[in-house]
């Protein structure tokens, strides 16, 4: 079924693709490869002599603080995977195996991590679940107990797992849905049923999806800077890296050592996920396939399912709800709810934070634009040309996934601090444009995926038909390929835009002055002080609305495109 999609029209141009590829390589080389290699190099460099050394790593592990940070990061990431799995497993099971009308709600949860990064809700969670938060106040009054949801590392684990469990949910559900109905039926036909069949057939087949989701959660939590910072948990790796660089300076090697560790763990998690998936494309390509068989729930089961789903839903929406209360509340301290309500915070946010919002729209918009231009170029070069090394373009762009934001930020500071801007003479690292580039590089893998998917859906026969009728290569791309890709491109742009709009970890390192700061950074500033929390929450709500709308828009576009293509595609090309 892929042979047609991979067929490349014979190429009779030579310079064009290489020129495009060259520009892409130049961009990624300068803004991804060089900074990361620099970070690794500095970690292995003697600060005094500049020679190769392992002494930085020795120093790192000799320090109690760093050892503790390392253990904490591993512990928090691991526990977050465990808790997230506990939430995601039953939900995935309900939605794929039963005719359950709650499925729509659960599937919608999948978009929560895209709409709001965890750090935005972290402060609100403190007010809801903290030692003197709403939940514990109620527990203390009625049951005489308190639960340390938010105490130290618990808080980070709690916020992160509530936030990232949809990654496991999406991947696991997709795996479960991809299991052909006949896989189960064959087992039943041979006498297997119930739990035994689940253990022997269904679970092993769903394993790759689970591993993919779980390793993603691990990496996201391990690399995250914003959430621990806002919860004031500094004994973790990413906050330590940030604090070292921002307080000691860019010449301090510890930040670089931590960066290396973050990269190693990222790569390790990607490798685990790759191992899990390798040779295990379990989706059926033969004729006669069908989804996993579903059955109806009995009344009792349905009630039970709804209770579980509603409880999880309440937990998942708690940060949003808390944020909303905070943004409208006057004073909220030692109370289940705020003392009173006001819209003042929104006024404050709009007047004093208008600059942040403008910056965000500008930065995220530019980053999204850069991403779809480069994404389209790479997708086209990889899928439709024969140029040498085209696969490496893809690998290079996607490798950005393994680079935590903190690391990229540190790399940029180190490499571009010495580079002067042409006219102003200001260091390149402090120019606002560098934030745009950092955002673009970090979001490129997502945009690239949209562009590749959009291009894959266009049969090469459509291009060949245009060429056959006399259109040149360039005109074919312009008149046939791009118009057909357009909804995919918009989806890619929106994804980049939405996630870039609320990214904090690279941004926080690169913001040189407050007037250049985007919304995420502004939010961080506001949340530092008790007085700033209200306006901060209002700003957070605005961010959620911007990103939520954008995500919805992209979702609709992709759905529409899929619907339109389903009617015209798949004719010819075979299976």
């Amino acid at each position: 079924m892929t042979t047609a999609a991979l067929r490349r029209p014979a190429l009779n141009m030579s310079v064009g693709p290489y020129l495009a590829a060259g520009l892409v390589v130049l961009f990624l080389g300068a803004f991804l490869v060089v900074p990361v290699l620099k970070v690794i190099q500095v970690a292995f460099q003697d600060p005094a002599t500049g020679g190769f050394t392992l002494v930085n790593f020795q120093d790192f592990f000799a320090s109690t603080l760093f050892r503790q940070s390392f253990y904490n990061s591993v512990y928090v990431a691991g526990m977050s995977v465990v808790i997230a799995s506990a939430i995601a497993l039953p939900l995935a099971y309900f939605t794929t195996r039963f005719n359950f009308s709650g499925s729509v709600i659960i599937q919608t949860l999948a978009f929560v991590p895209l709409i709001m990064p965890p750090f935005i809700g972290a402060v609100a969670m403190q007010l809801l679940f903290g030692a003197n938060g709403s939940v514990n106040l109620i527990l203390r009054d009625y049951f005489g107990i308190t639960i340390p949801f938010m105490k130290g590392l618990n808080g980070v684990i709690f916020v992160q797992s509530l936030h990232y469990f949809p990654f496991i949910l999406i991947n696991l559900s997709a795996s479960l849905r991809n299991i052909d109905r006949s896989m189960e039926e064959a087992a039943q036909m041979l006498g297997s049923s119930g739990v035994r069949m689940f253990r022997r057939i269904v679970f092993p087949l769903a394993m790759p999806g689970y591993i993919a989701g779980a390793s993603l959660v691990f990496v996201k939590v391990f690399d995250d800077l914003g959430t621990p910072l806002l919860l004031n948990v500094n004994t973790m790796l990413a906050p330590q890296a940030y604090l070292r660089i921002s307080s000691v300076g860019i010449s301090d090697p510890m930040g670089y050592v931590i960066s290396c560790i973050l990269i190693v763990f990222s790569i390790f998690a990607m490798w685990v996920s790759f191992l899990g998936m390798r040779g295990k494309d379990y989706s059926t390509t033969q004729k006669g396939g069908g989804g996993l068989s579903r059955r109806d729930l009995t009344r009792r089961e349905a009630v039970l399912c709804y209770i579980v789903v509603l409880m999880i839903l309440a937990l998942v929406l708690a940060p949003h709800l808390g944020l909303l209360l905070l943004s409208f509340g006057t004073v909220w301290s030692f109370g289940v709810l705020p003392d009173g309500f006001t819209v003042e915070h929104y006024e404050t946010a709009l007047t004093s934070a208008w600059g942040f919002i403008q910056n965000t729209l500008l930065y995220a918009g530019l980053a999204g634009l850069i991403d779809i231009i480069i994404g389209t170029a790479i997708a086209y070069l990889v899928l439709r040309t024969n140029i040498i090394g085209r696969k490496w373009l893809d690998y290079m762009a996607v490798s950005a996934l393994a680079v935590p934001g903190v690391v990229l930020g540190i790399g940029y500071l180190r490499v571009f601090y010495g580079v002067e801007m042409p006219v102003t003479g200001q260091p390149l690292a402090t120019w606002w444009g560098i934030i745009v580039i950092a955002l673009a590089v970090r979001r490129l893998p997502y945009a690239l995926r949209s562009c590749t998917a959009a291009l894959q859906q266009i049969s090469p026969a459509l291009e060949e038909a245009a060429e056959n009728l006399g259109a040149s290569k360039l005109r074919t791309v312009r008149r046939v390929v791009v118009p057909l890709m357009v909804s995919g491109l918009v989806a890619g742009f929106v994804t980049s835009f939405a996630t870039a709009a609320v990214e904090l970890s690279a941004t926080i390192m690169l913001v040189a002055s407050e007037k250049d700061a985007p919304l995420a950074y502004g939010l961080y500033l506001f949340m530092q002080s008790a007085a700033g929390r209200g306006p901060g929450a209002a700003l957070g709500i605005m961010a959620v609305i911007i990103v939520g709308l954008a995500t919805y828009l992209s979702h609709r576009l992709v759905e529409n495109a899929r619907h339109n293509q389903a009617t015209t595609a798949n004719q010819g090309g075979g299976h």
Binding site: G191, G279, K287
Partner: protein
């Protein structure tokens, strides 16, 4: 394929199957109806399949053939009516309790298990002792010629090999009946011809009552003892392939099995017997005892030949010709009525040109009258 897979030792099976149930059983389908929501997919099916018979459900997609097969295996919604396997009604019984073997169209080999593990699965479920499992898996793989692939994974096998493993996995548990759901549809043309012969040999060796679902009349005709032609959830006709071909019950069956001229007209008594008169006034010979009245006449292209004498000959004009290899199929215009006529192709003889005037002869007794 050289060893019967019947085990010597008996084992405790989770099914309500008595020892000796590997003897061929009869399948008796009584008034089975089934709906998907408001759509009626099966409409009162009655069929009796003899013990040890190789039986085909033949029909176009949407005819209900796969639905009926799945109902026998216990998949899909519970049908109304009765399905008796060796006298036992299985409607409403869980699939895992039926001991019915099914080979899926997609083969449904579990990708996370080796070939040997796949084949052993059903025996594990039946708590068959390890040593016996090993022996029976080996025997089953040998039977389908896949012994050397026991440790491979399904993704490392070709379509034909996967098919054989799927067969081995099904027959190793000695099911009461064998159900094959379009088993050849994922294979390429040459392999399909080879595989259908292998299937037939295997079925004969095991002697197991087998139902073969297909939309390909050639597959059904070549290997099955009897076929049930299905359309719109109804059995149109049951019989031996050649009987069904020669005496189709209706226009659908006539056209679905091979090519046919289905001509409208009416039967008229004449001095010498009965003739079938087309609307154009052309008279064609038909069965002597045909009762007069409007009807349809089915004439196979090979029942008409060129060069009829002047008295009962039909005059026509060649419109087009299709070269089919062994023969050439002509479309002939006879007084406004198009007739398909086959002529055996012999080396060196060109084909008749479009526009050529020809006379045709219809062989006596070969036209079949069917109802409106």
């Amino acid at each position: 394929m050289n060893m019967p897979v019947k085990s010597v030792t008996t084992h405790e099976s989770p099914q309500d199957v008595k020892p000796g149930a590997v003897e061929p059983v009869e399948i008796d389908i009584r008034n089975v109806s089934l709906s998907f929501g408001a759509t009626e997919v099966l409409k009162g099916i009655d069929l009796k399949i003899e013990p040890g018979e190789f039986f085909a459900f033949l029909g176009p997609s949407g005819s209900g053939k796969s639905t009926l097969l799945r109902a026998i295996a216990g998949f899909g919604p519970t049908p109304k009516g009765q399905i008796l396997l060796g006298g036992q009604d299985v409607v409403g019984m869980a699939p895992w309790k039926r001991n019915v073997g099914m080979v899926f169209q997609s083969y449904a080999l579990w990708p996370h298990m080796s070939v040997a593990r796949n084949v052993a699965f059903g025996l594990d479920e039946r708590r068959v002792p390890k040593a016996e499992t090993e022996r029976r898996v080996k025997a089953a793989l040998e039977m389908v010629g896949m012994s050397q692939y026991a440790e491979r994974y399904p993704s490392q096998l070709s379509g034909g090999q996967q098919q054989r493993v799927a067969l081995a996995r099904t027959i190793v548990v000695e099911p009461r009946v064998l159900l094959l759901d379009e088993p050849l549809s994922n294979l390429d043309a040459n392999l399909r011809v080879q595989m259908r012969q292998d299937l037939l040999k295997l079925q004969r060796r095991l002697g197991i009552t087998t139902i073969f679902v297909t939309h390909d009349q050639e597959e059904a005709n070549t290997i099955c003892d009897r076929i049930a032609v299905m359309a719109d959830g109804v059995v149109q006709q049951v019989g031996r392939p050649d009987d069904v071909y020669d005496t189709p019950a209706n226009a659908f069956v006539a056209s679905f099995l091979g090519t046919a001229n289905v001509l409208e007209g009416s039967v008229r008594k004449e001095a010498g017997g009965s003739v079938f008169v087309l609307h154009s006034g052309i008279a064609l010979p038909c069965a002597e005892n045909a009762s007069p009245g409007a009807g349809k006449l089915v004439l196979r292209p090979q029942s008409i030949s060129f060069g009829g004498s002047s008295e009962n000959g039909l005059k026509g004009t060649v419109m087009s010709a299709e070269f089919l290899g062994g023969m050439i199929r002509y479309a002939i215009d006879v007084a406004g009525q198009t007739l398909l006529v086959d002529e055996v192709h012999t080396r060196g003889h060109g084909r008749r040109k479009a526009g050529e005037q020809v006379s045709l002869k219809v062989r006596h007794q070969e036209g079949v009258l069917i109802g409106g």
